[in-house]
Amino acid sequence: MSKNPYHPINGEIIDIIDESPTIKTFVVVPEEEFKFKTGQFVELTLPGEGEAPFTPSSSPAETKQMDISIMKAGRMTGLLHECKKGQEVGIRGPYGNGYPVDDFVGKEVYIVGGGVGLAPIRSLFLTLVDKIKDFKSVVCRYGARTPADFIYKKTLFGAWQEIKGVDIKLTVDEAKDGWDGNVGVVTTILSEKDVNIKNSVAVVCGPPIMMKFATLKLLEFGFPASKIYLSMEKNMSCGIGKCGHCMIGKYYVCKEGPVFTYDQIKNYPKIWA
């Protein structure tokens, strides 16, 4: 008999970090060793309540525990936000393809993120800076609604900015709390001079509307559709390409995604909805 793919392994939430008014990071320790590739996702179960898909925000090099940053957006995420340390959870996965990091070697990696979209990007970022010499540079452009909505503030404003080969620029939709940086959506801090497009790949993750306009901007800069990597958010229940909910055209986002090049999906309907 085949292994039951619907059965989660047990885990425990050992720490909860308040990142922003709507986002918390849960540190989860699985009972068994759990390996994943950056950009892959897990189905996190709250026993008896339900499960939902999240991409870990920690480095895959860390196999004993993983960080999962969750924005309070619906029923499941609301319940998760009420959890306390010591909460038992279930974990299925890892599922999906993840970022093709090997294909990024020798290139400038142009990362565009918004809101909670920084969660998967943090995992990618940590993977890249771990071997920063393998990449030409890592250029990050990230936007949040207000300064309070930035997540991973300590490292985002501190240590990450100091890494050689890394260039980070931030923006907010609404300036508050003494913010003296750029004000405007993330596309206002994108410039075709940020990277040498001929030797770059772009990675976009964030709310659908932001992903749409960032992608259009990148295309305008001359990025080929095959070099723009998008993390697609769809309703994913089974995680193993059967239940049907996450389809974009012939693809199951949970299996061939969640990372797609724009080229793969551009002709299918409603990709940004």
Partner: protein
């Protein structure tokens, strides 16, 4: 494979049901539904002229089942069973489900266990239903493959053909049930089949399009036909529930006194919140878009992905549609739009 002859069906069904549970179609109103076969009370069984009303997927992927339990992985506990009276459309619908649930990377252990435990006795159609259009969707009114035994009605009795090792083994283990089949009977069977084929061709002559159906549907992205067709849709989801190839499901968690569990339950892409994500975004908010996605999945995406049509032309959705929506009419309307745009 090997073919033999039998006068009556009862001895055959009695022999099958001796060791395992057997389900046979029974007339209910104008339709057939599956019932447990009880050799002690059964009289001679009537061979169903067309597919039963309910889809065969019910035997392989029940409407609701336990998928995981906190006290340990749920394991399928399936006893061997047999189903009698499947038609070619049913067999082809199993081939569709196999692609999804027996996918090499992730097999569904519950589907796999049922599939392996199922003994399939199919039969030829001899009077196509009004809504049958299998001949348009690569089908035939007789089994092509995927059966253990197939029954063809002939004047004097029935030809029984083995379609698998399991079927062959059954025939070999029950020599007293069968006699040899004559060449005359085999040509009678072939004539019957040709007659039904011809009738299907006549019934569905208007569904023969110049453009392949895949292309017709693929080109309907901007069509207003969907929004127009769903005007009478009452969103009952009967079309997808009764469809033998529709296989969408969702997992949900339950809390019991002593344990937690995950259940697997049929879902439908015609349901409003089917594709909704946390926060409320929904690519298929509009009913017409859901209908479009349903057709795209059946006639375009599945074919692209697995090389098989996800519609077998059984016509069940046509019979079941409470709003009178007819898939065949939608295809006809869409086919006309292709001509206009060319």
């Amino acid at each position: 494979m090997e073919s033999v002859f039998i006068n009556k069906l009862k001895p055959l069904l009695d022999a099958i049901s001796e060791k395992i549970e057997l389900y046979v179609p029974k007339k209910a109103g104008e339709h057939y539904v599956y019932n447990r076969y009880d050799a002690a009370v059964a009289t001679e069984v009537e061979l169903n002229n067309i597919r039963p009303c309910t889809p065969i997927k019910e035997f392989l992927q029940p409407g609701c089942e336990l998928a995981s339990i906190s006290t340990g992985p749920a394991e399928p506990d399936i006893k061997p069973f047999a189903v009698f009276g499947l038609k070619d459309c049913d067999l082809r619908s199993i081939a569709v489900l196999d692609k999804v649930f027996l996918d090499e990377e992730f097999k569904d252990p519950f589907y796999e266990a049922r599939r392996e435990s199922m003994f399939i006795i199919s039969s030829d159609c001899f009077e196509p239903g009004e809504s049958c259009f299998c001949n348009i969707m690569d089908g035939e009114p007789f089994a092509q493959s995927g059966f253990d035994l197939n029954i063809s009605k002939v004047n004097e009795g029935f030809i029984v053909e083995a379609g698998s090792e399991k079927g062959k083994d059954f025939i070999e283990k029950h020599p007293s049930l069968f006699t040899d089949v004559s060449k005359a009977l085999l040509s009678e069977r072939d004539e019957n089949r040709a007659k039904t084929q011809k009738q299907l061709e006549e019934n569905n002559s208007k569904l023969k399009f110049d453009t392949p159906i895949k292309e017709i549907v693929e080109n309907s992205e901007e069509s207003e036909v969907y929004d127009d067709e769903v005007k009478t849709c009452i969103e009952c989801q009967a079309c997808t529930r009764i469809c033998p190839t529709c296989h969408c499901f969702y997992l949900y968690d339950v809390k019991q006194k002593d344990y937690f569990a995950k259940m697997k339950m049929w879902d439908s892409c015609m349901r409003m919140a089917y594709a909704t994500v946390a926060g409320g975004a929904n690519p298929h908010k509009i009913l017409g878009d859901r209908m479009k996605h349903r057709l795209m999945h059946k006639f375009v995406y599945f074919l692209d992905r697995y090389g098989l049509n996800m519609c077998v032309g059984c016509g069940r959705c046509v019979d079941a549609d409470a709003g009178g929506i007819d898939l065949r009419e939608i295809l006809k309307r869409l086919s006309k739009e292709v001509k206009v745009s060319k």
